[in-house]
């Protein structure tokens, strides 16, 4: 169960093309660009050029101020002393660069423990999601068992229920698992198992598997390959793009989640990074808190740098181009 408020990339993604297709080189030069709102002709006059460049500069500066400046303020704010932070007007550049505050935040807030916990939760959730959702989607797509449609329908129906409204009953399940009668609280299982119950991932994967030609699998079947073998050696290798999208989405969702780990991991030593910082924030000096915010945001930003393409594909390779 994910309880982030951020709108999930619910646009049902169209099946990305099967693997092996190398990204085509962009056609450059005049005449290849698609026509948009403003005609290329009007951009060629000096008048049009002036407007274009003005808009460009305004947009670039505006975006930088709105989205990068707060982050700059965060990174430099951490370096300022508490006195300098309280100073009016504020200093644009820190007077002295004291990186010791990062070490202080690391030690005082036991950020190492929090980060390790979060990595454990996100990594485990990733493995469980892949193992459980891929096999399920494969069974629903290619093996087509009895009641398969009903099961798929029930799984997709969960997309209609916003996670927040099931917060209390799901918490009660984690606290005292029905039938088994044990508590998952303060164990990683409380994160891993609900994370795997994701109807959106099942939907994405099943749709991709549906697009794999039947002949490919039938040929393997005639050669005597078992379903497990077919999944492992044929389906998975061609499904790399969608596996990438699902992997990144699942890791990032768990990493960013706040409400669910807040409830099921109340012990300080078990907290995820977000919950840990939030719960200790009141007792911290301002600059130490800000330093810990910087440290907490580094992993996701780094992931974004590295996997930008997959992340944006997961978001926008939606049904838009159809």
């Amino acid at each position: 169960m994910t309880t982030t408020l951020q709108p999930q990339p619910v646009l049902p993604a169209t099946t990305p093309e099967p693997a092996r297709s190398k990204p085509k080189k962009k056609a450059k030069g005049r005449g290849y660009e698609t026509r948009t709102l403003v005609s290329p002709l009007s951009l060629r006059s000096w008048h049009g050029k002036l407007i274009y460049w003005t808009v460009l500069v305004v947009v670039v500066i505006g975006f930088t101020l709105a989205f990068v400046f707060p982050l700059y303020w965060m990174v430099t704010g951490a370096l300022k002393s508490p006195d300098e932070l309280a100073q009016i007007p504020p200093s644009f550049f820190p007077k002295e660069y004291d990186f010791g505050v990062y070490a202080e935040a690391w030690n005082q807030l036991q950020l190492g423990v929090f980060l390790r916990n979060t990595a454990l939760y996100a990594g485990g959730a990733w493995l469980f999601t892949l193992a459980i959702d891929v096999t399920a989607a494969y069974a629903l797509s290619k093996l087509r068992p009895l009641f398969g449609k009903l099961i798929l329908g029930l799984m997709l129906a969960t997309l209609m229920i916003p996670p927040m409204v099931l917060l209390l009953p799901t918490y009660l399940v984690a606290k005292d698992v029905p039938i088994f009668g044990f508590s998952l609280l303060n164990t990683p299982w409380a994160i891993w198992l609900p994370a795997a119950a994701n109807g959106f991932f099942i939907f994405l994967l099943k749709r991709f598997f549906d697009s794999i030609p039947r002949e490919l699998l039938e040929a393997a079947e005639i050669d005597g390959a078992s379903p497990v073998r077919i999944l492992w050696s044929i389906v998975l290798p061609v499904s790399r793009p969608i596996l990438g999208v699902v992997s990144i989405l699942s890791v990032v969702t768990v990493w960013k989640d706040f409400v669910w780990p807040l409830l099921v991991l109340p012990e300080t030593d078990k907290m995820s990074i977000s919950v840990g910082i939030a719960s200790l924030s009141a007792q911290m000096p301002q600059n130490v808190l800000i330093a810990s915010l910087v440290i907490a945001s580094l992993p996701t930003i780094l992931v974004f740098f590295l996997f930008q393409r997959s992340i944006m594909a997961g978001l926008t390779a939606g049904s838009l181009k159809g």
Partner: protein
């Protein structure tokens, strides 16, 4: 004659083979499905039923739970925070729509016209979405500081008197909307941008030949061409913003004077601060009914969207 006698056994063994293969296939399939079935059963399907049961029961987790009819609903109705919570949630969603629905579309339209710095702008607008929400919210808590906070300093540059931001009933809710919008703007912008790229250029071409100006081209070409995705995003955003929890939880604790209590936050308070899971369940059920209407509509629209193309 001999051949007609010989045939049935062959057919039967073929049928048996097919049946055995079908059984085998089903067994394998359910073997593959069992992990997902268990996870869904425990963490999605059962909680839905439990949510309904919960709201009609009173339980202290020691004695067996008791059916109390509509008592939980009466309790929360009588709570003065109940009315505030719904009004605030509606206001939050409404304000988030006013700010957060139009801006991404405008940004996407502008971005789509630019030929330079596109990768940078796309990257930057999505940056806040990648921050863990708790980090973004705590960062803005510091910016909202009435003393040396960034926002009051910026106001000071323009000689505008400082605001109390989170500490005043009149500005607290809008402050939450600003954080939430800042953190989520990138999603909408990039989705619209992808939608805009699929609009055929000839439509603009012919509209221009017919003498349509810039704004009429936006209104008569861009908007109708992205109508479905706009509707989908509208419903999606309503559902997302009505579940708002982390902003009031981390920024205001529902205050000042219940000005930022939301339904989800009140639900949390009932369960974990007052120990009343029945009252929390009742609130959750009400929120669920409201949101399912929007979700169902959303799923319908997005399916039409897919089928129509």
């Amino acid at each position: 004659m001999a051949s007609t006698i010989a045939r049935p056994p062959v057919r039967r063994s073929l049928e048996q083979g097919a049946a055995r293969r079908a059984v085998g296939r089903n067994l394998t399939a359910y073997g593959f499905l069992c992990g997902a079935l268990i996870c869904f059963a425990f963490f999605s399907w059962y909680p839905m039923i439990r949510e309904i049961v919960l709201s009609f029961q009173q339980t202290n987790f020691v004695d067996p739970p008791q059916w109390v009819g509509l008592d939980n609903f009466r309790t929360v109705f009588a709570d003065p925070a109940f009315r505030s919570a719904w009004l605030n949630t509606a206001a939050f969603s409404g304000l988030a729509l006013v700010v957060g629905y139009v801006i991404p579309f405008v940004l996407a339209v502008v971005l789509n016209e630019l030929r330079h710095a596109k990768a940078y702008l796309r990257f930057v607008v999505y940056l806040p979405v990648m921050l863990p929400p708790a980090v973004g919210v705590l960062l803005f808590k510091w910016f909202y500081d009435p003393g040396a906070g960034l926002f009051n300093q910026i106001l000071d540059v323009f000689r505008i008197p400082p605001l109390a931001w989170l500490d005043s009933t009149s500005t607290a809710l809008i402050s939450l909307v600003i954080v939430s919008t800042w953190m989520n703007l990138g999603t909408g912008t990039l989705i619209y941008l992808a939608a805009l790229q699929s609009i055929p250029g000839d439509l603009y071409e012919s509209a221009e030949l017919d003498g349509a100006g810039l704004f009429r081209r936006v209104w008569h070409v861009t908007v109708p061409q992205t109508k479905l995705i706009l509707l989908v995003m509208l419903l999606l955003q309503i559902v997302a913003t009505m579940q708002v929890f982390i902003e009031p939880y981390l920024l205001t604790g529902g205050g000042p004077e219940n000005a930022t209590v939301t339904v989800a936050y009140l639900m949390y308070q009932y369960a974990f601060n007052f120990g009343d899971f029945g009252g929390g369940g009742a609130l959750g059920l009400m929120l669920m009914v409201v949101l399912i209407v929007f979700s169902a509509f959303y799923l319908r629209v997005s399916r039409d969207n897919e089928g129509g193309r």
